[in-house]
Amino acid sequence: MYSLIVAHETRTLAKTPALAWILLLLSAAIAFGAWSASALLERQARGAAAISQYEDGLRAQMRAELAKYEEKVKASGGTLEFAPINHAPGEGPPQATNAGAVGSETATFAVLPPAPLAALSVGQSDITLNYVPVSMRNVIDVTKENEIENPVNLKTGSFDIAFVVVFLLPIFILAMSYDLLSSEKERGTLAMVLAHPVTLRKLMASKLISRFVILLAVVTALGLGAVLSVGSALDQPATWAWFGAWLGATLLYSLFWFALAVLVNALGHSSATNGIVLAGAWLAFVVVVPTLVSVGATTLYPAPSRMDFTTAAREAQTAAEFERMRALDAYYYDHLELVPDAADKANDFLTLAMASSAAVEKAVMPLYEEFQAQLNRQEAAVARFQYLSPTLMMQLALNEIAGTSADRYEHFMTQVFAFHKQWTEFFAGRFLKRTPLTTAEYDLFPKFTYVEEPAGAVMARLLPSLLGLLAVVGGVTVFAFAALRKYRVAGR
């Protein structure tokens, strides 16, 4: 019996022009979403490449100078000397021999590579900096920088596939099914059908199945197309596992909206009323509840004011300066090229600068950590409230699948801090011992490679959202089919 009704429903749907339009619009939206997300990824890559190239260029220049100097020394049979910190070119060993100069005046970039399915959900990756400069400068300074983008566009948000799935897909689903039962009743065919040995539940289930199957086919095809065109690491099985997770989440989310449509139809109102109620439900779940949750989380755990943070950091810095330096020292500290000739004195200032930087970092780190802790509390609050709306669960799940979640960025920053230590130690050690750098050592400069989170950690964060979705979908479906029992086919 099911197959009969499903076949009939599918045939009827196939003849509906509205459905064709809906599917066309959905396809166009996903294609557009894939395009704009890939444009963003490309943009990020360009930014990282541009500035990395520049800094690499500086170091390459230094290396070239050093190579020339090494030749000169080899030719004259002398030993390499360590250059003081001043920028007078020409005589003596070049700055390139001074590890302190190289380590503090050039920066290397720690790049967070996009996850294979990053194109599926932009998340916060349009406002976080995915290429962080690392030098011997105070590491916390680095956390203040953001990627630049037109704030007007940031406010609008990106049109990515997550937007299509989270916002638009429910609208399409509701458009296909808001009058599931009410239209049959209004048309009069419901009485005709139910006069045959078919239960209402079977009828509704069949209608649901036919629509769900169409949606499943479309979403799988489009999702596959998107991943094939803008995904990366397609040769890794892990990527396809994530795609499976994406597909599963999307289908669960779709099922929620279908079940909701059945529930509203079971209440027995007219098609127009169903339309209003479902539009209202969409608004509530997709727009209002997430907004209220974010207001709630930011009210409960307001992000500490960066103004206060900056002022406090400034005060720490000033205090460090006053403790350590007199006015003259402060002056020379800002313009090392002006320090009188005594090489040691110049180097002492760099030592002092490094020490001062370290001291400020130490003073400011607890503030920074409290800052991060508060933000984490905010995120935790959101994670707790996510069960209030399937849209929230879906968005959080998509961010984890696409690797654009706040947790992954924090994981990255932890590695950046560790790498900063590594970089500083490499150069500081050689600088303090006054050992001149050689070109061979230039090839040994520490390089940052991002170590991806273990899949288990990500799954652990993903699972609550997925399970939450499953529970909600199950609940609504049970409710919906229970409500069908009370449906009045005829009579007052």
Binding site: A39, A175, R306, A327, Y331, L392
Partner: protein, 493 residues
């Protein structure tokens, strides 16, 4: 005789009659009660939270700026150039009506460090310190009105004609000689009145809040802004009102009317604005931070005109020496290191201006392009106008960053200038015993940082295009509705 007396009878204004019936019908309807209640609740919550945030931020900003200005003066005796390195902070003011529409404020930095040698970007972007969920949207009065008000109007009005047609009462109306003009304006008045019932109390409360807390002292033409803002949002509501009436008149049944209207709403409120943003980024590409910095640094060295800065500086020094008839820069009557630093700054300024202006112009161009696409969706120009009048738009942000940069240049120039004269005797002497220190009195030659946000006239000029598009939409929707209702008459319902 009876006929004459009949014609002397006072006929009630039909528009009024239709309006009153429509209004009564709607207000008694369950759907009105629900949607209006939700709308009022959300508006009040939005206004309350917006107000609290605004008050907190304004207090914080005023205090922080005062502190920073004071820290500049009290930074302790040191060399003037060091003082320029110590610098000052510029804190952004909140727009006067940002409690209603906080616009781009979460996405712009509100803190700028003004120091020698560098033109910094504004940092401390609130959005970076918030969870991804906040990207769903901020709850403020503007969002509620922009997203929900049209839906409210659609819900109230989609059965205006299609419902009457289905019930059969439309035919009766027409048979009684009610004309299309009366129908159109009567229903518009009735439905609009019902919608206003939900919205106006909140607006009045908002205006009261403004008046009570005496914002007018800090903002230019505050009531002018409020008036224009109200007009813009009323226009937006009218657009949806007349579109709803038009679709209701043309649709074969209420279901079709609802689908078309909700579809249009979803498209124009969600899909088109996001698509417009993405397309504008493709049409007017803007640089990433990495590219911005890389090109800037390279241009600082090689010069915008291809003449390296080092070469330019050499020329400058030679000319200076010729002017003062000396053979070494150390023999100049000004402290050469200070001159050098100031001149290098000035070379940098050219580069900075070129790149920062290009960035600002690109962002503005992207915004204007999106306003232009407002021909497809009335929300786009409304958003721009709303942000502009509330003082939370690009114009206000640019004014802030420009003011900060101007102040920075004044600070650096004055400090370097003072140093070049006061330490002239130290030229060529690098000796710790002859070092030059300045005190608070010297630092005071730099005025405290303050700036004036753009005035109403500047805002209106900037958004004239958007306002026009909005007005065009209102007109077009009225014309469409009139035509649609006219067709009802002729087709005989």
């Amino acid at each position: 005789m009876a006929e004459a007396s009949l014609s002397r009878m006072k006929a009630p204004s039909l528009i009024g009659v239709v309006a009153r019936k429509e209004f009564t019908e709607i207000v008694r309807d369950g759907r009105f009660k629900w949607t209006a209640a939700i709308m009022v609740m959300l508006l009040l919550t939005a206004l309350a939270t917006g107000w609290q945030k605004y008050a907190a931020y304004s207090a914080m900003q005023t205090a922080a700026q005062e502190t920073s200005n004071r820290q500049w003066l009290k930074q302790g005796d040191k060399n003037p150039h060091s003082a320029a390195h110590y610098g000052n902070y510029a804190f952004k003011q909140a727009g006067p009506l940002s409690f209603f529409d906080n616009g781009i404020e979460p996405y712009t930095g509100n803190l700028l460090f003004m120091e020698a040698h560098k033109q910094n970007l504004a940092i401390s972007r609130p959005a970076n310190d918030m969870s991804a969920v906040t990207r769903f949207g901020d709850l403020n009065g503007a969002t509620v009105l922009q997203v929900l008000m049209p839906l409210l109007i659609i819900f109230l009005g989609f059965t205006a004609f299609s419902g009457e047609r289905e019930r059969g009462t439309l035919r009766q109306l027409l048979s009684m000689g009610v004309g299309p003009r009366e129908l159109l304006w009567g229903k518009a008045l009735g439905i609009g009145g019902a919608a206003a019932l939900a919205i106006v109390p909140c607006i009045v409360l908002g205006a009261l809040a403004i008046g009570l807390l005496d914002l007018s002292s800090t903002a230019d033409a505050l009531w002018g802004r409020v008036g224009l803002l109200t007009a813009a949002y009323i226009g937006y509501g009218l657009i949806f009102l007349f579109l709803t009436l038009a679709v209701s008149a043309l649709a074969p049944n209420p279901r079709a009317a609802l689908i078309v209207l909700v579809g249009f709403w979803a498209l124009s409120v969600f899909m088109v604005p996001k698509s417009a943003a993405e397309i504008s980024k493709a049409v007017y590409p803007s640089p990433t931070l990495g590219e911005f910095q890389a090109v800037m640094k390279a241009d600082q060295v090689r010069g915008l005109d291809g003449v390296p800065t080092a070469v330019k500086f050499g020329t400058y020094v030679r000319e200076l020496m010729k002017e003062y008839n000396v053979d070494s820069p150390m023999k100049l009557p000004m402290y050469f290191p200070a001159l050098r630093m100031q001149k290098l700054e000035e070379f940098d300024h050219v580069v900075f201006d070129h790149h920062y202006n290009a960035l600002r112009n690109t962002y503005m161009a992207q915004r204007r392009f999106q306003d232009g696409l407002g021909l497809l969706a009335p929300l786009l120009p409304l958003k721009s106008v709303s942000m502009g009048l509330a003082g939370s738009d690009l114009l206000h942000h640019d004014t802030y960053t420009r003011a900060a940069e101007a102040h920075r240049r004044v600070m650096v120039e004055r400090m370097n200038g003072y140093l070049s004269k006061a330490a002239a005797d130290l030229n060529g002497v690098s000796n710790s015993s002859n070092y030059m220190t300045a005190d608070e009195e010297v630092f005071a030659i730099v005025p405290p940082f303050a700036y004036t946000p753009p005035g109403l006239r500047e805002v209106v000029t900037e958004y004239a295009g958007a306002l026009l598009i909005l007005a065009a939409w209102v007109l077009a929707s009225i014309v469409l509705a009139a035509a649609a209702v006219g067709r009802v008459r002729r087709a005989g319902a």
